[in-house]
């Protein structure tokens, strides 16, 4: 990399502006991609450039390895991030909603990308303080790559085929490394079928993230009730069932584990306790459930139905749990899943020696 005195900012600005004019940008500046940069990305994978890694039936568009690489490079990724981008995209394509109408949805869902294994340290992915961002290049640019692929390859642009009513903060920017070192539980990737110690990526579409700040008690059930309240809010209920995960901070996770809760035990507790009474659902116009499992405002109250309790999380699969963030406060994030997490993690392709000594090979 030459010193700053030898770089030409005026030429760089022209190239960036050209990318804006082509309507390729999500609003922020793009890295203009040349063939040599693309070649460095493609050298990070053994997959063929023309291999199709995802399709969107609605627009009839296919994403190839090469197009994914161009968009990842535009997003600001370094070449060595590319296997994580490929794994993240593949993991998202396991989400039925991402293959169907999710990208066009009025809810404007955001991918949640979770990275496990040694690749976190090798690439410098943040698993600790401020894990939901910003400030860390791999976290920011891996997530942004997915957004650019949806826009440029699938052809789903805001206010055209993408019909988000308001969208949500964090779309195209949520890529977490799990804080495995401070988690009392097995990594998400292991729960999702990958061998311990392997690098892998999991992904799901989210409707939003909502914090739970409970530094008030050491009683694990009180802490869990605080989560249950946020998870059970009626505003988020549109179907009979919901899927809702938690990204626990280390302090909450360790408190629960010290009280004897396994990860599965936490899920079971939330499945059991998250829900609403008939009266609460009726108050919000969501007490009825039609044949498509969509909630609606029921006409009349059946006797005694006001006190009935409707659980909303049908199974453990509906409650993905991750540990991330700093150990400095008991603040965690409820992550509301748009459809249903696939429960499958995708391994990160490892090119022998490709990660080591990757210091600034470009030039």
């Amino acid at each position: 990399m030459p010193g700053s005195g030898k770089l030409d900012p005026d030429l760089a600005q022209q190239a960036i502006e050209y990318c804006y004019q082509q309507d390729w940008s999500d609003g922020l500046p793009l890295v203009p991609v040349s063939q040599p940069l693309l070649d460095r990305f493609l050298a990070q994978t053994g997959r063929a450039p023309q291999e199709i890694i995802g399709s969107l039936e609605a627009t009839g568009r296919d994403c190839t390895v090469e197009l994914a690489a161009i968009n990842a490079a535009m997003a600001g990724c370094r070449p060595e991030y590319f296997p994580v981008v490929l794994a993240a995209f593949e993991a998202l394509m396991l989400d039925r909603a991402a293959r169907g109408g999710g990208w066009q949805s009025t809810s404007g869902p955001a991918p949640l990308i979770v990275v496990n294994g040694p690749v976190r340290g090798e690439l410098g992915l943040n698993a600790g303080g401020g894990v939901f961002g910003p400030g860390f290049r791999p976290n920011a640019t891996v997530a942004r790559s997915i957004g650019l692929i949806v826009r440029n390859v699938f052809g789903v642009k805001p206010q055209v085929l993408e019909q988000a009513t308001q969208g949500l903060p964090g779309r195209w920017s949520i890529c977490l490394a799990e804080n495995e070192e401070e988690s009392p539980w097995e990594p998400l990737s292991v729960e999702a079928g990958q061998p311990p110690g392997d690098s892998a990526v999991s992904a799901a579409l989210l409707r939003t993230c909502e914090f739970v700040d409970n530094r008030h008690t050491q009683d694990p059930e009180q802490v869990l009730w605080d989560f249950a309240d946020t998870i059970s809010r009626t505003g988020a209920l549109i179907f009979r069932d919901a899927s809702c995960g938690v990204v626990f901070c280390p302090e909450h996770a360790q408190l629960l584990a010290a009280a004897g809760f396994s990860k599965a035990g936490v899920k079971d507790w939330l499945v059991e306790h998250c829900g609403r009474t008939g009266a609460e659902l009726r108050r919000a116009g969501k007490d009825g459930v039609n044949e498509n499992n969509v909630r609606f405002a029921g006409d009349t109250a059946a006797p005694g139905s006001g006190n009935s309790f409707s659980r909303i999380l049908p199974s453990r699969q509906h409650v993905p749990i991750v540990v991330a963030g700093a150990r400095n406060a008991a603040i965690s994030m409820v992550v509301r899943v748009f459809g249903l997490w696939s429960g499958t993690a995708v391994g990160v392709e490892s090119r022998a020696g490709a990660w080591a000594g990757q210091a600034a090979p470009e030039g």
């Binding site: 190239a15 050209y18 990318c19 082509q22 390729w24 203009p32 991609v33 040349s34 063939q35 040599p36 693309l38 039936e57 609605a58 627009t59 009839g60 568009r61 190839t64 197009l67 161009i70 968009n71 535009m74 169907g100 109408g101 999710g102 066009q104 949805s105 009025t106 650019l148 440029n152 390859v153 052809g155 206010q159 055209v160 085929l161 993408e162 019909q163 988000a164 039609n290 498509n292 969509v294 609606f296």
Partner: protein, 186 residues
């Protein structure tokens, strides 16, 4: 000579073409009947809230007021996706015209128009009904499917929260547009 800046879309831009009479883009619309007397009407219901009541009422009005001979109602399982081949085949084999909707979300407005274009391509006139909040999505997918400017009917947004009586009023209000889309009295 500097390197070229690479295209992240793979060159797949929108390519709308000028439309001629009876034609939108590369799509030739199915031939229209003069009227609907004696026509068998297919209803392709997409399961969005109130879509069944809405289309049932449109079908009933087409029989009562326009002489349609009968109704074949079918439901597509995934509102976000275009209708499967077997469903399109059944509707185009069994019916003279098809009404579909309601395009009342991002994905289902696009897929409803995609279904309309597919039905036209198979030679069956179609009337797609979308909420007027989703014309951007509906127009865009028409362009992608080779039918820029494809005409469809709209009903005011919102649809999902209406009572059954209000939905039937909507069906009555959109009826002239549906008939105009399905017929050519010339």
């Amino acid at each position: 000579m500097p390197n070229a800046i690479l295209d992240p879309t793979g060159g797949a831009g929108y390519a709308p073409a000028a439309a001629g009479p009876g034609q939108t883009g590369s799509l030739v619309l199915a031939p229209r009947r003069r009227g609907l007397t004696g026509a068998k009407v297919g209803l392709l219901v997409n399961t969005k809230q109130n879509a069944d009541i809405f289309l049932d009422e449109v079908g009933k009005l087409l029989v009562e007021r326009h002489g349609a001979a009968g109704i074949l109602a079918r439901t597509k399982a995934a509102f976000a996706q275009p209708a499967p081949e077997c469903l399109l085949k059944e509707l185009t084999t069994e019916c003279d015209v098809v009404v579909t909707g309601i395009g009342d979300c991002g994905s289902c407005s696009a897929s409803a128009v995609a279904d309309g274009v597919a039905l036209e391509g198979r030679g069956t006139p179609a009337a797609v009904i979308c909420s007027d909040a989703f014309t951007g999505s509906a127009d865009a997918i028409a362009g992608l499917r080779g039918a820029p400017g494809y005409q469809y009917a709209t009903t005011p947004h919102p649809v999902a929260a209406l009572t059954p009586a209000q939905v039937r009023e909507r069906a009555l209000a959109v009826l002239p547009d549906v008939v105009a889309l399905l017929t050519d009295p010339r």
